[in-house]
Structures are given as C-alpha cells and as structure tokens.
C-alpha cells in the first residue's frame, strides 16, 4: 500500500546531488551517443563486406578507423572538456565523529572502554 511522505517544510536540495545528477545525465548522454554512432557506423561499414572493397586509413581498416579510432579520440577530448569545464568541484564533507571512519572520538571511547590511559 503506497503511503505519501510526511509533509515537510520546503527543503533545499543538496548542491552536490544537484551537480552530480546534472553531470550523470551528461555522461549518460555521452555514452548513448558514442554507442549509437559506433554501433551504427560499424554495423553499416564493418559487417557483411568482402575484402575487395577494403581501404586502409593509417593502416587501420577504414571502418575501424572512422567507426572506433576517431570516436575514441573524440571521447578522450570530450572527457577532458567535461572534467575540466562541465564538472564542478564540491566539498565532500567529513566523516562523522565517533565512527570508525573518524577515529578521534572513537579512540577516546576505546581508551575509556579498555581502561587504558
């Protein structure tokens, strides 16, 4: 049985969540475009051919060069652009005190428990 979330005061979404979601959407789109281009191009020019019409570009079979090597290069350049320009830096925060991941408070607790000075 579905139940609605309890009514809450207007809340502001975490800025890291906002930017991470925006960036994740860009990345998903990049993946879809790369997939669509590479698979379509290679399906069209890399399958069902005989050797007679094979051409080479810098030593690669033509379909490998235009369908894989070139988009690979584009992806590397786009990765740089994405990471340097589109993706923002955020404060990731600290581990909560008193947990194993933030030992300052935990160490005090363990010293008290074990009776060590």
């Amino acid at each position: 049985m579905p139940t609605d979330a309890p009514a809450a005061a207007p809340r502001r979404e975490d800025p890291v969540l906002k930017s991470a979601r925006r960036e994740a959407l860009i990345v998903f789109a990049t993946w879809i475009v790369a997939l669509a281009y590479t698979i379509t191009y290679c399906a069209r020019y890399g399958y069902g051919r005989t050797g007679d019409d094979l051409r080479y570009v810098f030593g690669f079979p033509d379909w490998v060069f235009w369908g894989i090597v070139v988009p690979w290069g584009v992806c590397v350049v786009f990765s740089w652009f994405f990471a340097s320009v589109l993706m923002t830096d955020e404060d990731l925060g600290e581990d909560p005190p008193g947990t194993e991941a933030n030992p300052t408070a935990l160490a005090d607790q363990q010293i008290q428990e074990s009776g060590e000075c």
């Binding site: 969540l17 290679c42 990731l92 194993e100």
Partner: protein, 642 residues
C-alpha cells in the same frame, strides 16, 4: 614450443624484481596507513587516493587485458576492437556517474566498505548483510580464477612450460595400468582399453598433447567412435592419468605467499599502489612493444621488397602491410565483423547483438565492481575524480588500440599459432621481436612482467575487499560490535592468510573455464549492484524492499540465464567465445542487459509500492541543510518498516 624445459631467466628476473618492488610498496603503504584508525587505514587508505591512483586502478583491468584481449584479436581480427570499444567511455562513465555522490555519501555516513553504504543510507543492517554476502560470492569466484592465472605465469618463468595458455588444463599425464583398470571398472568397453594401451607409461606435458595422442589411437578403432563419445573417454582417461604438477604447485605457492604477504603488510594502500605500479609498467611495456612489433613487421616488409615484391608493397604503411599479411594467412573475415572463425565451425564471435551488449557490459561492469566502488569512496576530493577521468581516458586509448595493433603484427609475424594456443601470442611475439636486441630476454621479461603484475594487483585488491567484508561487515557488525582495534587487526591478518590457504587448496586441482568464470562474476556483480547503487545515490524514493528486490532480481536473472544456457543447453553455442560455461543469449543479447532491465523494473515498482524511508534519514543524504531530528541509524537496528 615456447619455452623449453629450462628457466626463462629474463622473465624470472623481471618477476622477482616485481615481487620485491611490491613488497617494498607494501612496507611504504604500511607506514601510510598508521595515521588513522586501523580499519579506515587498512581497508580505505584514510581516504587519501590521488588522481593517478584513482584513475589507473579503479576500473576493470586484470591479467586479461594483456593476455586475453591480444589473443582474441589474434584469433578473430579487427572485430575484437569493436568488442572492446566501450572503453572509450569507461573513464567518463566510471567516475562521472557515481563518483561525486558516492564519495560524498560515504563520508556523510562514515562508510568504510560498500555494505556500510547500503546499511547506513537505509538504516538497515539486513540490507548491509545481503550486500556483503553477494560481494563475498562474486569476489570468491573471481579470486580463485586469478590465483590460477598468477600461478601459471610464475610456473612458466620458474621452470619453463610448453604453453603460456591460461586455458590449458595444467599438469602432465601418464597412462598407467591402474588408470586403465579404473576405466574398465567404469564400464569402458574392452576394445577401447586395448586400443589405448599402447600409450601406457608414455609422458605428456599438456592436456592437448595427451588428448591428441588418445584421439589418434581411438581413431584406429573399427567402427570409429563418434566425436562426443571419444571426447568423453579422453576426459575420463585424462582424469585417471593426471600426475601431480610440482612446477605449477611451486608457482602457486610463490605467487600466493608474495601477494598475500604484501597485502597483509600494507592493506588497501598496498593493493592500490601496486596496481598503480603495474598499470604504469603495462603502459611502458605496451609502448615499447608496439615500437618493436612495428619494427619487426617493417623488417619483414623490407625483406619482401628485396625478394621482388611489387613496388606498392614498399610504399605501404607498416600496419597496412601487417593487415594484408594477416588476411592472406586467414581470410578477409579477419578484417570485418563478426570476426574470423579459425575453427571453421560457423562460430560468430561478435554478432551485432553482442557488439551492442558489450557497449553495456564494459560500462556497467566498471560501475558495479565492488573493488572499484571502494576506491572511489577512498578518493581525496572531487579534484581527483575530475582529473582521473581524462587521465584514464588517455591511458585507455594508449593501451587498447596499440595492443590491437601489436596483435595484428603478431598475426603477420607468427601467422600459424594453432587454435587453443593463441594466448601464447604475446609472450612469443615479445621473445621474437627482442631476440636480436642486447639483453633481449630481459626486455621481453619486462614486457611479460606486466600481466603478472596485473594478476597480482587484482588478487590483492580482491583480498582486501573480501577481508573487509568478513571482518567489518560480518564480524564487527554482527558478532562483536565493540571489538578493539587490535582484535580487528589480528582478525584481518588471520582472514587474509586463511583466504590464501583456501585459494591454494582449491587451485591444487585448478578450475576449468577460467575466462568464463571471470566474465560470469564480473557481469554478475554488475547485474546485482548497478541499479541498486544508482538508486542509493540519486533516488530519494528508494526503499529497503525496493533495494532488496533490485539486488535479488538482477542476480536472479543473471543466474537464471546462465542456468538455461550452461546447464539446460538452450540457444546456440556458436556466438561469442567458445566455452561450455555459457549463458543463454535471449534475443542475441548478453544476460547483463536483461538483468539490468529486470533489476530496474523490480527496484522501482517495489519502492513505489512500499513506504518511504524516514524523512530525517533522507534529509541527511539529500538536503542541503539536514533536518534537525534524531536520525535512525543501522547501529540501533532501525529496520524501516515495509
């Protein structure tokens, strides 16, 4: 024969250097982990991973990169580059989708392991335990396979071997009287036993040699047995005739002691730093190798021109010349999809459905890898995540495309490796192209040390994940929540040593289908964890029952399709790699795609049908200013009611 029965000194020296370097790295890592608590230091490196460490170690790379992939290019040709092409986006998807939020949430809840994340984000110890069990299941599979690969490489360097091949059954064979009597007792006809008795007391170094000899004797029978019946008898006889393979066991022990040793000393950081070290070595090895392989082909080209080849051969690009040679030795299928079929069985290595599937597989296997997720949790800041994206982008481009070019040169220079021996292409080519160089054997040893390092680093990172799963997620969470740091430390060392012992024992009679097991566990982990991870970091409305549904249905679909294909024999066995451990490719697509779809549907529907998580808990992870309320935590076992 690749390496005669004498130590390969160049490879051996390089491997010893590798082991010493790894031990040294372990000691350095040990010092670095002493800064904080044992758990955070040993299992998470105090969240201090920089850009290079994150970029070159957090995604899927193993011995397979340097051994399996070139062997596939050699066997099937350029279609394999399409098979791996998704690596063009793996850096951006691997860090750009989950990275930032994962690093943030793991800090906000103080998570040290991946199950910690699930447990705290949903305040559900049960969910954390379920995730731990899945991780232990998949990682154990992967690790067993990796130990075998590491032991094989060590064996080859240590005492020489007939083959580098990972897929071969290890061990030497001798037909004995007791073996023959055993067959008779098992109901094998007398004339068959008489037919193979001339082989009595002969020694065979590898299973293929043994099988060929037995098949030759069986072929003399009138009437000759059918191929399936003959295979069954050969298999039965092989099991009865296998001798203890001491070189392999020695290799296994040396490998295990080294890798468990340095991981024990330095924990997570040792695993990461050795991984970084091997990644850099692999890059150096590939660049050096590419230059040498192209030079080898260029020399061949010059010889052909000198022997009166047409003038256009002289003007040809070296790689194009290698291609043409490779096609001459195979067929034009070598240059196109779905790939060359060396066995002429009608096998289609990469039909379009699978090409499409692999664009998903590599991306989601990277996203859902527990070892990779922990490394993102351990990164220092978003600056490191950003830099890792383009560093890895460049690295992948300079590894995978050159390795394909090297393998094509391999087909041109060593054209006739038999099917089943193609894993030898890299070591054979390395020896061939370095033979004329000063210290050539050592140079080839350096090149070949890369796959060994890759296997060591992979095992090391799995060891850390498995040990943290048992110590942190099971013992500390459910058995002794107030265990002291010293107790956990001793337990961690004990667990790692025990895993080493178990790995040695299970690998004394090594598993078959090595590569298939690696693929199964990698895609299985992706099918299980990808959708739940996305729900965990991005979807406020996700609930505990929804997460459980997504986890179980993803894993269940994957296992179900493997059961249909591998056990019940549904569908064709003539697509993809040749193996008996295969899934059912429903509509020609890999099981991962179906598993992701089912996992997503189940996760969303069940979440929407069940009560939302506590608002204060959600606020902690999704709002800029978390609500000022006492939060439920997993520590007080506040399971959210369904």
């Amino acid at each position: 024969m690749l390496i005669a029965a004498q130590p390969a000194w160049g490879t051996l020296t390089a491997l010893v250097l590798f082991i010493l370097a790894s031990m040294w790295i372990g000691v350095l890592a040990n010092r670095a982990t002493r800064a904080g608590s044992f758990m955070k230091g040993f299992f998470l490196g105090n969240r201090g991973l920089g850009s290079w460490a994150l970029a070159l170690t957090a995604t899927v790379q193993s011995g397979g990169t340097f051994m399996g992939y070139p062997s596939l290019v050699y066997t099937h040709g350029w279609a394999v580059v399409l098979w791996i092409a998704a690596y063009m986006v793996v850096p951006i998807t691997g860090f750009g989708i989950l990275g930032k939020r994962l690093a943030q949430i793991s800090r906000r809840c103080g998570a040290i392991t991946m199950p910690d994340l699930f447990r705290e984000r949903f305040a559900s110890p049960g969910l954390g335990l379920l995730v731990s069990l899945f991780i232990l299941f998949y990682m154990s599979f992967m690790m067993v396979a990796q130990f075998k690969a590491g032991a094989l490489v060590m064996k080859i360097a240590w005492v020489g071997s007939d083959s580098w091949s990972e897929d071969q059954r290890i061990g030497r064979y001798r037909v004995t009287q007791s073996g023959l009597s055993g067959l008779a007792a098992a109901g094998v006809p007398t004339n068959v036993i008489e037919a193979i008795s001339p082989l009595k007391d002969k020694l065979f170094a590898t299973e293929p040699q043994f099988a060929d000899a037995v098949h030759a004797e069986l072929a003399k029978l009138k009437p000759a047995p059918g191929p399936d019946q003959a295979d069954a008898w050969v298999h039965q006889l092989a099991n009865a005739s296998e001798l203890t393979d001491w070189p392999y066991i020695t290799g296994l022990l040396i490998f295990t002691i080294s890798v468990v040793g340095y991981t024990l000393i330095g924990g997570f950081l040792a695993a990461v730093w050795t991984d970084l070290f091997q990644s850099v070595m692999m890059w150096v090895g590939v660049v050096l190798f590419l230059i040498l392989a192209l030079r080898g082909v260029a020399l061949l080209q010059e010889r052909e021109v000198a022997n009166g080849a047409p003038p256009r051969v002289a003007q040809m690009n070296t790689l194009e010349f290698a291609n043409r040679r490779a096609i001459e030795k195979t067929s034009s299928d070598f240059a196109f999809g779905p790939g060359y079929d060396g066995r002429h069985q009608g096998r289609s290595f990469l039909p379009l459905g699978l090409a499409f599937s692999f664009f998903w597989i590599w991306v989601f296997a990277g996203l859902g890898s527990p070892a990779g997720i922990v490394r993102i949790m351990a990164c220092r800041s978003t600056v490191n995540i950003r830099r890792s994206i383009y560093l890895l982008g460049l690295y992948n481009a300079f590894i995978y495309i050159p390795l394909a070019m090297i393998s094509i040169c391999g087909r041109a220079l060593i054209p006739d490796l038999p099917v089943g021996k193609t894993d030898d292409v890299i070591p054979m080519l390395a020896m061939k192209v370095t033979s004329a160089l000063p210290f050539g054997e050592f140079v080839s040893g350096l090149i070949l040390a890369a796959p060994f390092g890759a296997v060591m680093a992979t095992v090391s990172s799995y060891l850390v994940v498995i040990a943290s799963g048992l110590v942190r997620d099971v013992y500390q969470r459910f058995v002794r929540p107030f265990a002291t740091s010293r107790e956990l430390e001793i337990l961690s060392y004990g667990v790692m040593t025990t895993i080493g012992v178990i790995a040695v024992v299970t690998n004394l009679r090594p598993v078959d289908y090595l590569q298939a097991i690696v693929v199964f566990s990698g895609t299985g982990a992706a099918a299980t964890f990808c959708i739940p991870m996305l729900m965990l970091v991005f979807w406020r409305r996700a609930t505990v029952p929804g997460m459980v549904a997504a986890l179980l249905s993803g894993a269940g679909t994957m296992l179900g399709l493997y059961y249909l294909g591998g056990v019940l024999g549904w569908g064709t066995s003539l697509i993809g790699e040749a193996t008996k451990f295969r899934p059912y490719f429903l509509l020609g697509l890999d099981p991962l795609l179906w598993s992701l779809a089912v996992s997503l549907a189940a996760g969303v529907v069940v979440s929407l049908l069940t009560r939302t998580c506590d608002e204060a808990l959600l606020s902690k992870y999704f709002d800029a200013e978390p609500a000022e309320t006492v939060l439920p935590t997993a520590a007080v076992a506040a399971e959210v009611p369904a």
